[in-house]
Symmetry: C2
């Protein structure tokens, strides 16, 4: 007897940005795992059980969900944003690879979602309109020197960069250090977007030039997008500025 494990993304937080596919997975499940603020976004029915947990226990959470699914239960693993972007889908795959063979027989259904950088970009214009990358600034899972190396290579390549996990109480200095590195590689005028809680009631968008970018303006709910030398800011009287990265790149530029 083998159950099903859905791995869903709620999107950035607004119910209007959650897909019907994810909602159907919720309706079809009886037990819910995930970081508690994400699980709390769902309007669960009395028979639907929450098994929420702290944010830093991803592999243990994946194993517990797989164990329950292997017993025949219909289980839902809840991520914010998209489950495949610095979220639970990779942890579930890791647990399946290392786990008992019964876990490979579980029906695994991953439903994509709107990830934070897309929601922030939509709010401010089109900063990801050109080639771009997504980097987690958390050095819990990779060494800091790998991150610094990647930042320099991304700047050299002329990529727009979206930073996930930019800052937390346990990692207070990494975003500031990343800005310092990028100030060595990119013009000080490059726009930096601090996109906080996109689509939620406490949403706040802030644009600063890289030369003045202040890491203290970010928190755990912020996705930071760093443009390129080509990224443009368009003033609109009475409306917020638009920030976009042109689709066209001439030959003499990076």
């Amino acid at each position: 007897m083998s159950g099903i494990l859905y791995v869903i993304g709620t999107g950035p937080g607004s119910p209007d940005q959650m897909t019907p596919e994810a909602l159907k997975a919720v309706a079809d499940s009886n037990a819910f795992f995930g970081y508690f603020p994400y699980v709390d976004r769902l309007n669960l029915k009395p028979h639907q059980r929450k098994i929420a947990s702290d944010n830093r226990e991803e592999l243990a959470r994946a194993r517990a969900a797989l164990e329950l699914a292997a017993s025949g239960e219909r289980v839902c693993m809840v991520s914010g944003g998209d489950p495949g972007v610095f979220a639970m889908a990779a942890a579930v795959c890791e647990a399946i690879e290392a786990g008992p063979k019964e876990w490979k027989a579980i029906d695994l259904v991953i439903t994509p979602g709107v990830t934070a950088m897309l929601a922030v970009a939509a709010r401010i214009g089109a900063p990801l309109g050109h080639d771009f990358c997504a980097i987690s600034l958390s050095d819990n899972l990779k060494p800091w020197d790998v991150i610094t190396r990647r930042l320099r290579l991304m700047a050299e390549a002329g990529m727009v960069m979206a930073f996930y996990n930019p800052i937390s109480k346990a990692r207070p200095w990494q975003l500031g250090a990343a800005f310092d590195i990028l100030r060595e590689c990119l013009p000080p005028t490059v726009p930096v977007i601090f996109g906080r809680a996109a689509g939620r009631p406490d949403e706040a968008m802030l644009v600063m030039p890289l030369g003045e970018a202040d890491a203290n303006r970010a928190d755990m709910a912020t996705c930071v997008i760093v443009g390129t030398a080509e990224t443009r800011i368009v003033s609109r009287p009475g409306k917020p500025d638009l920030v976009y990265s042109p689709r066209f790149l001439a030959g003499d530029s990076k």
Copy 2:
């Protein structure tokens, strides 16, 4: 009198992967611009007018939509996937910047969507589970030598890569050339995913090692994801293989 311009993403194609926010924008609009297969995905009412166009006329299409919105109309610009990822949002911002001042007064509402790489990743496991980038292989908007330079830098940085616009009748050789470059920089065992039409009835997922990756397996509806040396393939008896990029990266690796 100034109207509104929505710029929406339909997601990869399944109605189940389109957000309620995008559906509300459709319901609120009277005129629809976009590449015709995307506009045809919408169930429009008789009073809702389609002004569909060819895929290569993005800036002209953006200007026409802005002109109509500036006249007071409620207009919807339709992209597949997410409108900010190699799609219409950047073209609209460009047109606003260069256009008459009335266009800056239009209410511009961009709604994010599930972009192709996220849908493909969800179908196959979690190949984007680590730092990743998105690159358009079209050399219509940037020189080919910029693309080749970026490919080498992304490989050096250890990024997972998602390729948009990998191939078309007018650009038949670029994907093969990209594979050739990556074969010089990455191990031949690196998994390459050809994710075609994710979420649509004609969906097809194919995984090949980079050493054997054949560009002829891609078409215009394909998003290609190239893993890293760390990306794993998990066999599951009676089920498709899972492909994922581990969250954890040890210090001695790229």
